[in-house]
C-alpha cells in the first residue's frame, strides 16, 4: 500500500465498488478519528481547525514536548529583542477547544491498519492522519558534523535548548573573535532565517563586542532577500560581515569541533571562536517511517488538499511537505493546515469543500527598528502549489516604512501564534 499512488487508489475503488459497499457502511460508523503528529504551526492549526469546525470529530494531537518554541522569531531572542518565554507556547488553548493533546513521541505508523504507535507501545487508531513533524537533519553531509558536534556548534534550527545554547555562544564569544555561520543547502526551513540570524548576531556584537567578525560560509550562490540583507549589513553592520557564496569557496567539506576549525571544499581552513552550523534538511523522521517521503526525503502532496500522494488517508502539512513554490515557513504551514483541515472535515462529515487557497509572508528583522518582508498568494495546479502575484520589500525604503514593517511583524507574530495555539 505504501508505494501506491492516489491514482492507484481510484482505480481500486472503481474496480471494487460493489464489493466494497458493505464494508464502507461499517467504516462510516467508526469514522471520525483525526490524529495529528506534531504540534507546531502546521499540526497545531490542523488540530484546532478540524475540532473547532467539526466538534463531533475526535481529534488527537501527538506532540513530543509539553510546549512549543517557535523557530520563527527565535532569531529575535538571539538578538536580544524577545525573551524565550514570549516565543514559547503551551497547548492549553488547543485542549480548551476539545483537542486531545497527548504528550508523547510517535514512533510508528501502520498505514494498512491505520494506527500510530507511541514510544511507550500504546496504539492510537485513526481515520485520517496528519503528519506535521517539521524537519530533521541530514547529519552525514559535512564530515565531522553530527548531533554531538551540534552541542559545540549549535544548529539552533529546531527552536528550544539549541536556541538558548546558540545565544550563550554568541553572548560569550571572545572579544574581537570570529563567528562562522554555515547556512544549509536548499531546500530548508525558513529561507531568510540564516540571514536574519546574521543580522541579529551582528546586532548583539555591535552592542557588546564591536570588533567581532561574522563569516558566512554558504553552500549556495544566492539566497532569499539577498539585496535587502546586504543593504542592511552595509547600513547597520559595516565591516562586520563577510558572505562567501558557494561558487567563491563557501562550500564546507569538514568540521573539527575540538579544534574549532571549518574546512571548505577548496581546502581553506577557518578558525571559529563560535559557530552556527545548520545542516541540510529532510522531512521529520515519522514521515519517512510512515512511507510518506519520496527519494528527495520530503513528502509529495496533492496541491488541492495536502493529502499525501504516497499513502492513503495521510495528509502532510508544513515543512515536511513538498509544497511547490511555497517556502517552508510557519505562515505557509498555518495556511496549508487550513486547507488540510477543510479537506479532512469534508471527507469525514461531508461539509463544504471550497477551492484551496494559500498565502505566505515572511518578515525578517534586520535591526532594532527595521524589518523587510516577502510574500505571495498561491493556488493549486495539477502539478504543484504555484506562486501568483509575489511581492517583496524594496531596497532603499524609508525608515518610517521599515519601522512600520517591524511593528507589523510583531503584530503578525501575536496573531498567528494566537491562531495556532489560542
Amino acid at each position: 500500500m505504501i508505494d501506491m499512488t492516489r491514482r492507484g487508489f481510484g482505480r481500486i475503488a472503481l474496480a471494487g465498488g460493489a464489493t466494497l459497499a458493505a464494508p464502507s457502511i461499517l467504516r462510516a460508523q467508526a469514522k471520525g478519528r483525526v490524529v495529528v503528529i506534531g504540534g507546531g504551526a502546521g499540526g497545531g492549526t490542523v488540530a484546532k481547525y478540524v475540532k473547532k469546525d467539526a466538534p463531533e470529530l475526535d481529534v488527537t494531537l501527538i506532540e513530543a514536548n509539553p510546549s512549543y518554541t517557535t523557530c520563527f522569531y527565535s532569531n529575535l531572542y538571539i538578538g536580544g529583542m524577545r525573551d524565550f518565554e514570549s516565543i514559547t507556547h503551551g497547548y492549553d488553548g488547543l485542549a480548551g477547544h476539545g483537542v486531545n493533546v497527548v504528550n508523547a513521541v510517535a514512533s510508528g505508523v501502520d498505514a494498512a491498519a491505520r494506527t500510530v504507535t507511541l514510544e511507550d507501545g500504546s496504539v492510537v487508531a485513526y481515520d485520517k492522519l496528519v503528519l506535521a513533524p517539521g524537519i530533521d537533519f541530514k547529519w552525514d553531509l559535512i564530515a565531522g558534523f553530527d548531533e554531538a558536534a551540534a552541542e559545540i556548534m549549535p544548529h539552533a534550527y529546531k527552536a528550544g535548548p539549541q536556541t538558548v545554547l546558540l545565544k550563550e555562544k554568541v553572548d560569550g564569544m571572545a572579544e574581537g573573535g570570529t563567528f562562522v555561520m554555515v547556512p544549509p543547502p536548499n531546500p530548508y526551513r525558513c529561507p531568510p532565517g540564516p540571514y536574519e540570524r546574521v543580522c541579529m548576531i551582528a546586532k548583539r556584537f555591535k552592542e557588546s563586542n564591536p570588533s567581532a567578525k561574522i563569516i558566512i560560509l554558504d553552500p549556495k550562490e544566492k539566497h532569499s532577500k539577498q539585496a535587502l540583507f546586504q543593504e542592511a549589513w552595509h547600513q547597520y553592520y559595516e565591516g562586520m560581515i563577510e558572505w562567501v557564496p558557494g561558487d567563491f569557496g563557501g562550500k564546507v567539506a569538514s568540521i573539527d569541533t575540538a579544534a574549532m576549525t571549518i574546512t571548505t571544499e577548496d581546502g581553506e581552513v577557518f578558525e571559529a571562536d563560535a559557530a552556527n552550523v545548520i545542516p541540510a534538511q529532510k522531512a521529520g523522521m515519522i514521515a519517512e517511517i510512515a512511507g510518506a517521503t519520496d527519494d528527495s526525503g520530503w513528502c509529495p502532496i496533492d496541491p488541492h488538499s495536502m493529502a499525501s500522494t504516497m499513502v492513503e488517508d495521510i495528509y502532510v502539512v508544513g515543512d515536511s511537505s513538498i509544497a511547490g513554490d511555497m517556502p517552508k515557513s510557519g505562515f505557509s504551514a498555518n495556511s496549508q493546515a487550513k486547507v488540510c483541515a477543510m479537506a479532512i472535515r469534508h471527507e469525514l462529515t461531508g461539509s463544504s469543500l471550497f477551492p484551496a487557497r494559500y498565502r505566505n509572508t515572511c518578515w525578517s528583522t534586520v535591526a532594532e527598528a527595521d524589518a523587510v518582508k516577502v510574500g505571495a498568494s498561491y493556488e493549486p495546479t495539477d502539478e504543484k502549489i504555484a506562486s501568483i502575484d509575489p511581492f517583496i520589500s524594496e531596497v532603499g525604503e524609508s525608515p518610517d516604512q521599515r519601522l512600520q514593517t517591524r511593528e507589523e511583524a510583531d503584530a503578525w507574530y501575536d496573531s498567528i501564534t494566537s491562531d495556532i495555539f489560542g
Binding site: 501568483i388 503584530a411 496573531s415
Partner: protein
Amino acid sequence: MRKYAGWLIGSGLACSFAGEAGAGDLAYGEYLAGECVACHRAGAEGGIPPINSLPAPYFVEALKEYKEGERDHALMRTVARSLGDTEMEALAAYFEQLEN
C-alpha cells in the same frame, strides 16, 4: 449563480448558501478568513489593525481600494487582487458579525 457554487460539494452548507445569496455567504467567508486571521487579531493594538465588526460596505470598499492601488500596502494589495467581488462580500459579511 455565484461562481464558486460549483465548488460546494457538501449538501448541508450548499443549501444554506443558496438561502443567503446576495448577503455574503458566511461559511465561505469563514473559510476565506483563515487567510486574514494569520495577521489580523481581535483587539490588536498597533502594527496590524483588527478587522472584526467592520461594516461590510466599508470592508468591501477598502479591499477594492487596495486592489485598484488606491491604498498603498504591498501585502494587502496582493491579498485584494486574489479576491473577486463574491469573496470580498463573503469576507465582509463574516467579519461584520464578529465582535472585536
